[in-house]
Amino acid sequence: MDGSYQKSGLEALVDDRVDEGVFRVDRSVYTDQDIFDAEIEQIFEKGWVYLCHESQVPDAGSYFASDIGRHPVVVVRQKDDSLSCFINVCSHRGALLTPKKQDKATTLTCRFHGWSYSCDGRCIRIKNEKEGFGEEGFDRSQYNLRPIAKLANYRGFIFGCLKDDVEPIEEYLGAAATWIDLMVEQSPEGLEVVPGSSTYVIRGNWKMQLENSVDGYHVSTVHRVFASTVRNREERESLQGLKQTEGGRLVGIVPSGAYDLGNGHMSIWAQHTTPERRPIFKKKNWLEKNLPPAHVQWILEKGRNLAIFPNVMLMDNPSTQIRYVKPISADRAEVTVYCIAPVGEDAEARSARLRKFEDFYLTAGMATSDDMAALEDTMAGSRASQTKWNDFNRGIQTMTHGPDEGAKAVGFDPVSSSESWENETLFFGFYRRWREMMLAQE
């Protein structure tokens, strides 16, 4: 698309002819800045987006600054333990309210002119109010912070929406909710974000980050060097148990699958050939005692990546991760990664979980760095308009409409199931949701 964004032109960017064996996406969805601007308005500022995990706002007054499109927002824990979320902007002149990303405060005080707000958003102090606004009949409440329209907590994962007219979060997550459940139910005390994080910039489009996180097809090429590196290490150092890496899925053909979960959510799984190397394996007995067998099997034996439309990915593989993506421009996005782990995990398992995370997941790690390089190359290639179609046809003939046996066993209902994580049918749902939101009228 050249020039201004036209809804009429968007329809043709997703070539959805599954009956004819074709599903393609025009790569200008990655490169066109007008499309990007429309995405912020139509997707990020009108639908649910992920904000943070509840463990990041543990106590009354704890806050976590996040974003909904162009709106800086802040999630704040209240005295009654509930959560609120406000536009993180002073009502006076628009300065950001919180000095840090994450902290604890008794009031939210603007550092520009000193206006103060209570943690429940009331404007409680205006510096030199009487001198400026008079003594009589001045109503400070007109300057209360603006709450966002909708805030929801699904089992610890906090989502927000700027628009009132939106489906309940359970309905929005749909089949993806079961995938969150499979992480949360691993500990009776829930999950926690471990201290430390890393933020990196990808020189590519935000949608490529979502795609990469549920792309099983690249694993045996991009990550075979990871597999050979850790194999070399394990032989050199004769490592055993949790110190070994689950490498089976990286190199061989193992049972696997991919799901279009509906509403743009996507997921993949691959069988662990050596589940005893995973930190969660230490809780096998507890899991078997407390959860249905199908859940235990999914938790222990299936490495899982989940992409929740439009801005968060949850990985439960040898390590466990929240990956948050913030779009900056068509060709740039910020990604922040956190290790999320069961509360009360024993020290050996926690340490193993962190070391596996550092091995694989970071821009300084030995796999995510390779993912980034590949992603950035696809961004460069996407600018070639003479070869504009991104091909997502793999698996189109063999996919199952609705759930397969594995999905039925734990009770989620995907739009389609694929019997290999190398298949790309899960992206149909992502781009159908994308197109639907981009074309939606007010």
Partner: protein, 165 residues
């Protein structure tokens, strides 16, 4: 503390040699500067002002409990099979402010600053780090037994490997 001049020189030579070997891609000689039990630690940032403080229970950018960790990195670079490491970024390390901070028996502590200029597919960039070293004296000279790299940059652009640090 009165630290002998020879020791200061020996430490400075080793710190300068270490980064020179990285820039010259003399990987095996670089690994040899480290003792087998050397800890290599790049903490992540816990918040805007502080890094994590306990590498065992918190998330790091890199944390190797022994020399095997950097050997893994060299193995990966030399495999020519790592997407992020082919082609390799070019780097120049500028090390300064080398100070011996403590000598206790055979163990020596030192700090330094490092600015790394790198150039790759997406152009050039500079990243800066604080170095904390521990060395052990032995018959064959000093060996690195700990290198902690506090990378002051966050919002990292592009991959970060041992030669960028």
């Amino acid at each position: 503390m009165d630290i002998e001049t020879d020791l200061k020189h020996e430490v400075a030579d080793l710190v300068n040699l270490e980064t020179t070997l990285l820039d010259r891609r003399e990987w095996d000689d670089w690994v040899d500067l480290f003792a087998e039990d050397a800890v290599y630690w790049v903490p992540s940032w816990a918040n805007e002002e502080d890094t994590v403080s306990d590498p065992e229970t918190q998330l790091n950018l890199m944390y190797f409990r022994n020399r095997g960790g950097i050997e893994d990195r060299v193995f990966r670079i030399e495999s020519r099979d790592s997407y992020a490491s082919l082609p390799l970024d070019r780097t120049v390390h500028i090390v300064s402010n080398i100070l011996v901070s403590n000598v206790k028996g055979d163990e020596i502590s030192a700090t330094a600053n490092c600015l790394v200029h790198s150039f790759g597919k997406h152009g050039s960039q500079n990243r800066a780090s604080l170095y904390d070293f521990k060395f052990r004296k032995s018959d064959i000279g000093l060996k690195i037994i700990m290198k902690k790299i506090t990378l002051i940059d966050d919002m990292l652009e592009g991959p970060v490997d041992i030669y960028h640090l």
